[in-house]
Amino acid sequence: MCRIGSIKSKVAFSPSKALYLMLPQQEGHDNSGFAMVMQDLYGIFTPYKDKPLLSLACTQRGAQMVEDFMDSHNFEQVSEWIPVPNDQPGLDIKAMPYYIFRNYDYPEYYRDKPMSEKEELLLDIRLKLRQILENADEGYVYSFWPDVLTLKEIGDPRDIATYFRLWDDNGCLMAKSIVVQCRQNTNYDIVRYAAHPFFLQGYTLCANGENTFYTKNKEFQKSLHRGYVGFESDSQNFLYTLHYVLHELKWPIKYYKDVITPLPFAEIEQREDKDVLKAIRQSLAHLEINGPNTIIANLPDGRMLTCCDSKKLRPVVVGRTDTTVAISSEVCGLNEIMPDRDMTKDIYPNEREVVVIDNDLEVQRWKQ
């Protein structure tokens, strides 16, 4: 079972905080990896918040391929951060030669286009890059989006942090929102793309659990949107459905749960909005997720949410202080990073419950 967590704060913080949230939960873990998506970036990225940031791990040849491609598509590089690794001996990490985090400016003819068109362009570019790197087996591209940084690596999270110098809170890497996962790999092959969180057009998602409807989810999602690719992990389905319900169907967030864990028919019948709930359940039956799972997600507008499966087979807890809200698989993580919080206010979401944290850190919870 993986451990997942997230922090949303009014003050920018460094990724070490996310590591402190996660490490106490690592008991008995195989340390098969660490991954995070940072949103609402500060530090060296502060000046480039509106410029799409490309996050990738690759070989030298891969880096060249990406550069050529971006040049030929008229993307202008405006800044770059290439971490200088602390490659001390004995670290448990299967590092790639290069990690590139690079801000670009849109091609000139795109600069005045509406954001909706830019969003499509950014997706297409990422998909194309992914294809090029994948075909040549020269690297991985995780996200290409303004104000979003993704880092994924295989190994012991502690050592990965050492390698990327994430323990040094030097103010270089800062964010107000981080979603993070420490992996317990249940796939036989450790595939970099399979590491959570997943990202698509402003939606970030991390899941802890097993999606027993993976095959049917995948078969359905494949034809729904060009961005629904990969399927290296059964949890990618959660992200794609989130994107489909909110971005494609433009339904309010509350209906996400009605899609992934629909109410039983007997309960739907008791509801005033039964026509709508039934229609959703039957039209999107192939997006239902059955099996134990907890989800943490970030939405494009900055809201963070968590929700549980219909039987509450996977735990999650939400803790808060005046400035910060954190979500974690286990409470020991919260105790580590916010020991002084009022623990009586911790929220243990129930089955079928959704908890949303808005940008003022107001917490909303609703039963489906």
Binding site: M1, T186, G209, E210, T212, F213, Y214, T215, K216, E219, F220, K222, S223, L224, E248, L249, K250, W251, P252, K254, Y255, P262, P264, F265, D273, D275, V276, K278, A279, I280, Q282, S283, L284, A285, H286, E288, N290, G291, P292, S310, K311, L313
Partner: protein, 543 residues
């Protein structure tokens, strides 16, 4: 010594031989009066014996003529192995025994093609038996508890719209329906298949209808029953229970006059309408209700005089899928105010996928279900040649149709129901579960129901005299004397008990794979021990 006439029929030529032990026979005559076929008759036997009562041979002669039960040696009265004689015999003096070396198949065509009911007697290999539920939740995803967790065992019946076409409007953060969508009913994934009044005895039909109502009203399982062609009693058409019934319209259109006339008096809508294009037992062949079975009540319900009633093999006047969709769906939908799902039933065939594809593209979005019936299905009368040699196994057809929809992203929009041999080994839940994992939304059963009522027929040529009006169990006949053999209440009880167990067993299969709602399309849960089957169905091969 008599000359042998080798063309004469002898006992050894027949499929079933009567084994009779004269010493045990009490001459009560029960067997003869029970045999509906006239396969046995009373006769006499001359028993000559030479014996000795002394220690030394001192031959005496006895000459006796004793009454016995004899098997009739002609094809028309050939024993069907139903075993009714054995059932009634108080002394175990008589029973039918299968005769493997018979010549009946060769000799029985003097009066034209053989007609009979029941299932195919060939092609009994079952794909489903080579499939195992192999993906069991263990530690990463805990298995559910079949007793404690709630399961949502429901299947859609009706045209399901894609999410983008749902008539939703957004108001105050809430979705509401701007107008109606096509009707979709969530029913139990086990449908009682179409067997008409006429084919079944009124009592048998009543038993199935009673079981349906009981399952709905007392057990909370929304099982639906199809009427079969030929209409149904006016009383039922005008009752509340009509909501459990799927009205069938087949190529003969029998009974529809009555249904249309009853429309204004209907208190509730029927569960659906099923347009039967073909059935698995006799694909491409019409229905056949022989005059022998057209009793008075059948004449009344169907609105026809006593005569052999044959439905044509096709719907006259409809020669394409587009026409069917347009004329039949539009008119039937219109007749019920677009409140009732209308589905189509076809025999499985090499073209099933094309038909399904066409239905999926139907511009009116009006087809509410696609029922495919495989070669191992069958109840009613048919030519043996059709039963045994035409048709298509169901499993790969369901899978092919499902995958065809998957390729277009249209899965789930026209619910798929598969039948034909479901529960053939007695284990319908396992069959249904596997069919569902392969892409069916549900299954339908017919033959199994008659077997639960007491039918002794099987796919090894036992009984299968459903066409003759001489059904020994009173299930497939209108002969009032025979119909009385069937205990309606006990029959209905058997069906109810079976379905309740089916429900438990289905949970027992859903729980280990960690699913609380039906695993439609979860082919990853299945494995096959047969490489060819695994490859064809796209599931894992294991050995």
């Amino acid at each position: 010594m008599e000359a042998i006439k080798i063309q004469d029929i002898g006992k050894a030529d027949l499929k079933w031989n009567i084994e009779y032990i004269a010493e045990r026979c009490t001459m009560c005559g029960s067997c003869i009066s029970t045999c509906t076929i006239g396969a046995i008759q009373a006769g006499v036997m001359r028993v000559d014996k030479i014996y000795s009562e002394d220690i030394k041979p001192n031959p005496l002669h006895s000459h006796k003529t004793i009454p016995v039960i004899k098997q009739v040696k002609n094809i028309a009265n050939a024993c069907i192995g139903c075993g009714m004689c054995e059932k009634v015999c108080p002394n175990n003096a008589i029973k039918p025994v299968r005769n493997y070396d018979n010549r009946q198949t060769l000799l029985s065509r003097d009066d034209g093609p053989i007609k009979r009911g029941g299932r195919t007697n060939l092609n009994a290999q079952r794909t489903l038996d080579h499939i195992i539920v192999g993906r069991i939740s263990q530690m990463t995803d805990p298995a559910l508890d079949s007793q404690r967790h709630t399961f949502d065992i429901r299947a859609p019946f009706g045209r399901v719209l894609p999410a983008k076409s749902l008539p939703f409007t957004l108001k105050d953060g809430k979705l509401t329906m701007a107008h109606k969508a096509p009707p979709v009913r969530w029913i139990y994934p086990l449908i009682f298949s179409d067997m008409s009044i006429g084919a079944l005895s009124t009592r048998a039909w009543e038993a199935v209808a009673m079981a349906t109502a009981y399952l709905n009203e007392k057990c909370g399982l929304p099982v639906r029953m199809s009427s079969g062609e030929g209409g149904m009693p006016s009383k039922l058409l005008e009752s509340e229970q009509l909501k459990y019934m799927i009205l069938q319209i087949a190529s003969g259109h029998f009974g529809w006059n009555r249904i249309i006339k009853a429309l204004p008096k209907m208190k509730v809508d029927p569960a659906g309408v099923l347009i039967k294009i073909g059935q698995g037992a006799k694909p491409g062949d019409g229905g056949l209700l022989q005059a022998a079975k057209v009793a008075e009540h059948v004449q009344a319900i169907r609105g026809v005089p006593k005569a052999t009633l044959s439905s044509p093999p096709n719907h006259q006047g409809l020669y394409s899928i587009e026409e069917s969709v347009q004329k039949m769906h539009l008119s039937l939908n219109a007749a019920f105010g677009f409140r009732v799902p209308v589905a189509i039933k076809c025999a499985a065939s090499a073209t099933s996928v094309s038909v399904y594809n066409n239905l999926l593209r139907d511009p009116y979005q009006i087809c509410g279900g696609f029922f495919i019936d495989g070669i191992q299905g069958g109840t009613g009368a048919a030519n043996e040649i059709s039963l045994d040699h035409t048709g298509h196994p169901i499993v790969s057809k369901i899978r092919d149709c499902y995958l065809a929809a998957v390729r277009q992203g249209l899965q789930g929009q026209i619910p798929l129901y598969g039948g034909g041999g479901i529960g053939m080994t007695g284990n319908a839940a396992a069959d249904a579960f596997k069919m569902i994992c392969l892409g069916a939304n549900g299954v339908f059963i017919g033959r199994l129901l008659t077997q639960l009522l007491g039918c002794v027929g099987n796919e090894h040529g036992r009984c299968n005299a459903c066409n003759t009006g001489k059904c020994p169990t009173g299930i497939c006949t209108q002969d009032p004397r025979l119909v009385k053999r069937l205990d309606v209440d006990r029959g209905a009880q058997k069906i109810v008990d079976y379905v309740l167990t089916f429900d438990k067993e289905l949970r027992k299969l859903m729980a280990p794979i960690g699913n609380s709602s039906l695993p439609v399309g979860r082919s990853d849960a299945l494995v096959s021990t047969d490489k060819a089957i695994a490859e064809q169905l796209g599931i894992q091969y294991v050995c």
